[in-house]
Symmetry: none
């Protein structure tokens, strides 16, 4: 990646998120923080951004946009997404489910090596338009507009043709006994099928999804290779999952 491209990317992130965290960018790009800090310093000298401790901010803080985005994707989801993105290894094929948490993950995918993303969500695919190294495989089918994912027989058949290394599953509810569930029957079937095609399945869950159940069962809790949850969840809530021997990654 060329230096000037990196600086452009930093400006893009600044416009998109309303902030730049030096450490985050360095991790995403696989470069040292020194390099990013140097970039920020130079760009601050060029009056392209405002250098602050920890990163940088836009010169003229666009308050409405920033606050709007922050409410859309909470800081918690961003952290979960960034952590999950860090689990990807060069050359792997990962399946990204739809949903806001996975969209956040798509924004933090590593940019310093090549891998393949399979998704049945046009929204996720759209997030990856400017990603420099990822190859995107789009699963087609009848679009279920409520959650914006392709469904139906065509989608099932297309999914059967891939063998992802990791499936990042999005759900609406997780329960120790009742497993993973979601609101739509068709969607549940698709998710189950993706999990069956994938070597590993990880589920990202924010606090409010834990110990809840939705109408349509996807998989038992023991079917996942791991749960990625916020670190501020009390150990007590996690105990039932630990008893089920589900590896838990507290971020």
């Amino acid at each position: 990646m060329l230096t000037s491209q990196r600086k452009t990317l930093i400006l893009d992130i600044l416009r998109r998120d309303g902030q730049v965290i030096a450490k985050t960018v360095a991790d995403d790009l696989g470069l040292s923080e020194d390099t990013i800090r140097r970039d920020l310093r130079e760009m601050a000298a060029e009056k392209l951004l405002k250098r602050v401790h920890g990163g940088a901010l836009p010169l003229s803080p666009e308050l409405p946009d920033f606050s709007a985005r922050q409410s859309l994707s909470s800081e918690v989801k961003r952290q979960l997404g960034a952590y999950a993105a860090g689990m990807i290894r060069p050359g792997q094929t990962v399946f990204l489910d739809g949903g806001t948490t996975n969209a956040e993950m798509a924004r933090h995918l590593p940019r310093d090596f090549s891998f393949t993303v399979v998704t049945h969500s046009p929204t996720i695919a759209g997030e990856l338009e400017h990603h420099p190294t990822v190859e995107v495989i789009l699963i087609g089918g009848r679009l279920y507009k409520h959650s914006m994912v392709a469904t139906g027989a065509v989608a099932m058949a297309a999914i059967s043709l891939v063998r992802p290394d990791i499936f990042f599953l999005g759900v609406t509810a997780i329960h120790p006994a009742r497993g993973l569930s979601t609101g739509d029957f068709e969607e549940a079937a698709i998710k189950r099928h993706i999990a069956q095609c994938s070597a590993e399945t990880y589920v990202l869950a924010t606090q409010e999804k834990l110990d809840a159940a939705s109408p349509c069962h996807i998989l038992p809790i023991t079917a996942v290779s791991g749960m990625i949850v916020p670190s501020d969840i009390e150990e007590e809530s996690l105990a039932p999952y630990r008893r089920a021997e589900v590896p838990i990654f507290a971020v």
Copy 2:
């Protein structure tokens, strides 16, 4: 390989990838980096590209990048899109190609009756997320990120399964003798295939696309059921198309 050919190739790479790495090109062509660097230096002097450490970038940093183009989608495109959207009848199945003009069309689809949209563009699909009545069929495949459409054998096969009433074709160039063309070979093949599966094909064209030709041929001009063009184009420019007996809708 002649020097001028090499320079043309460098410009091609620049258009295709949005960047040129001196070392990569030198390796690919089996030449020394010095030679490529010299080329880049000279082309920068001719204002054909922007020289940066490590290679070169397009002059206007965000060249015809898709999302950028989308933001400056002109009033003309909006009108073309709205008119084309008005051609849809209840119950029909229409295929929407990718591209900015069709994205504009997606924003103006009728909302007072039901119909089906088929598309291989996740961007178009995303536009339809909140549309109340449309049914969306997403065509999957390997995502060609430059223009954000699904391509490849999987996409071809999926397209074969639908029989759209109308295909709204997006192109980069239209020429009376050289027909419809676009910049990418794979894309051209996909577009051709969609047209062959569809009962009718309409092409939306702004002024600057007329009487131009791009590298990859899609279809002869006689293969379209109609052209939708801005009304302020002089009759003179349209004459060759009228002679080819292509119905013209001036909006």
